[in-house]
């Protein structure tokens, strides 16, 4: 791995940026995680830019609930929470508000959980986080909840 990825992987460990880190139980190098998830996204016919755009839109709509849950697109119940401060990206290319989005598909109850930072990691680095990470973005969940 390049020095940038080695540093990013170190930053992703528990206790460095967040208490639980970004890797969960996953012990693979992040490049392996990324390439595996890119392959899964392709198989599911999901485009990173298109998915990110949908996530941004849901966050914007969710903010209109002023902290309370709000129905979006008639099928999603979205709640946006803010915590104090910012989190730096493990790739060291920006800092992000601690804004969390919880979007639940009413018909199945499936929950999509993401933050400003996890959306950035997805959009810019194609990093969906390690298996077992609290903010891991499962491609199947993205497809189902975003209805893409």
């Amino acid at each position: 791995m390049s020095p940038q990825y080695i540093k990013a992987q170190a930053n992703m460990k528990p206790g460095v940026i967040t208490s639980s880190g970004f890797l969960g139980d996953d012990e693979r190098p992040i490049l392996d995680i990324i390439s595996h998830d890119e392959e899964t996204m392709r198989k599911l016919n999901l485009d990173f830019a298109e998915v990110a755009e949908a996530m941004h839109r849901i966050m914007t709509e969710g903010l209109k609930g002023l902290g309370e849950p709000i129905t979006v697109d008639e099928v999603l119940l979205v709640q946006v929470n803010d915590a104090r401060g910012f989190l730096p990206c493990p790739f060291e290319d920006g800092i992000f508000r601690k804004t969390n989005v919880a979007a639940r598909l009413a018909s199945t109850g499936r929950l999509l959980l993401y933050s400003d930072l996890s959306l950035h990691l997805f959009e810019k680095h194609h990093f969906l986080q390690g298996r077992g990470s609290p903010f891991r973005l499962e491609p199947e969940v993205l497809k189902e909840v975003l209805r893409l």
Partner: protein, 373 residues
């Protein structure tokens, strides 16, 4: 062959060990800052401590607690102190949290300042009153599907002095994949007269470390640690009409404030309390607040649902809390009376409420808030 298989790895191992020893000795010499003196508020307190650790942690070891929501990881921007002596320029990890004025005043993040030499700092005097408490969870009550009322008995020390509207920081131990203790701030909903207890309203935040712990692992009878009291939010003793707005667990400081005012016979002020929720199942304390309205003719409670469901049979106000606030300011509330705004909620809710209040002539410096973020 023998040389290659046995001696070469041994030599490499030996060189590695010598290098490690060298690094350790160098670290001890270079990073041994000895004792340093922290001068707080121009000599009000002077602490002689071992140098080398961040200011935030060193002060905490000396029982001086600077508010921090991230445990010193530099990601909350809360632990600001003014540094009067030279500790070098602001670090890139500090500047995102600082305004230009704060940089000019040498306000610093205490978690990012490593104690290498004597230092002079300035902190609000109130921070000297913050204590670490060991308590026991006496009762946990489900107020809604995602809000719990947690009632904590204080054991050591046994009593807390605070003003209604202030908050504490709850400390939860490591659990699951969370390897360190974590703390977050929560407004106290109990009244200051109940000095031996602290009551909190904690809403489950999906993915939240502390709220997940409270909602899934915290049990009655369990020991728990907290520090406090923190914060400046509270009633300004002016007699102006109070326009209060909250949602969800933002109820907490208002429960404390209103009950405290009632206890102390301060019933002469006109108070409008607007509370927003999505559906009927997100509302709580309705009976208590209705009872308060009966006892207090100048107190008015208005609950509003943004998405009432058919089964709710909701007869009250509907719409976002800002829309309902605007409606009342237009048609019900005396436009000429001096007013103060009191808000507790998400940054988005606060900004929206402030905009409405300003539209109706309320001065921004008379709008007080307890921002979640």
């Amino acid at each position: 062959m023998f040389l290659t298989v046995v001696l070469a790895p041994t030599a490499v191992g030996l060189i590695g060990a010598v290098l490690a020893l060298f690094i350790s000795i160098t670290d001890l010499i270079v990073n041994n800052y000895g004792e340093v003196v922290i001068d707080i508020n121009k000599g009000k307190r002077k602490l002689t401590v071992k140098g080398g650790a961040p200011l935030l942690m060193t002060l905490s070891e000396q029982e001086i607690f600077i508010p921090s929501a991230c445990g010193g990881r530099g990601s909350c921007g809360a632990c600001k102190v003014r540094v009067l002596s030279d500790v070098g320029p602001h670090l890139p990890t500090e500047t995102p949290y600082m305004s230009k004025t704060e940089i000019d005043q040498n306000i610093r993040l205490s978690c990012q300042i490593k104690l290498k030499k004597n230092i002079e700092i300035e902190i609000p005097d109130e921070l000297f009153n913050i204590r670490r408490f060991q308590g026991t969870v006496e009762k946990i009550l489900d107020l809604t599907h995602d809000i719990k009322e947690v009632y904590i008995r204080l054991n050591q020390p046994e009593a807390i002095e605070f003003k209604s509207g202030q908050y504490i920081q709850l400390v939860v131990p490591p659990y699951g994949k969370v390897k360190e203790s974590t703390q977050r701030g929560y407004s106290m909903s109990s009244v200051p007269s109940d000095r031996n207890h602290v009551e909190l309203l904690i809403r489950l935040v999906p993915g939240g470390i502390v709220t997940t712990y409270v909602h899934t692992l915290l049990k009655e009878g369990q020991p728990i640690e907290l520090t406090g009291p923190y914060g400046e939010f509270g009633v300004h003793d002016t007699g102006a009409m109070m326009i209060c707005v909250a949602g969800g667990s933002g109820m907490a400081p208002f429960k404390s404030i209103l009950n405290d005012m009632l206890e102390n016979g301060k019933k002469d002020r006109e108070i409008w309390y607007f509370f927003g929720a999505r559906t009927r199942k997100d509302l709580f304390y309705l009976e208590e607040l209705a009872e308060m309205e009966k006892k207090w003719d100048k107190f008015h409670f208005v609950a509003a649902l943004s998405e009432p469901q058919p089964e709710d049979n909701w007869q009250g106000e509907s719409g976002l809390i800002t829309q309902v606030l605007e409606k009342y300011l237009t048609t019900v509330i005396d436009g000429g009376a001096p007013k103060e705004g009191y808000l507790c909620g998400s940054p988005g809710m606060l900004d929206a409420c402030i905009a409405v209040m300003k539209k109706f002539g309320m001065s921004e410096d008379k709008i007080y808030f307890d921002k979640f973020a």
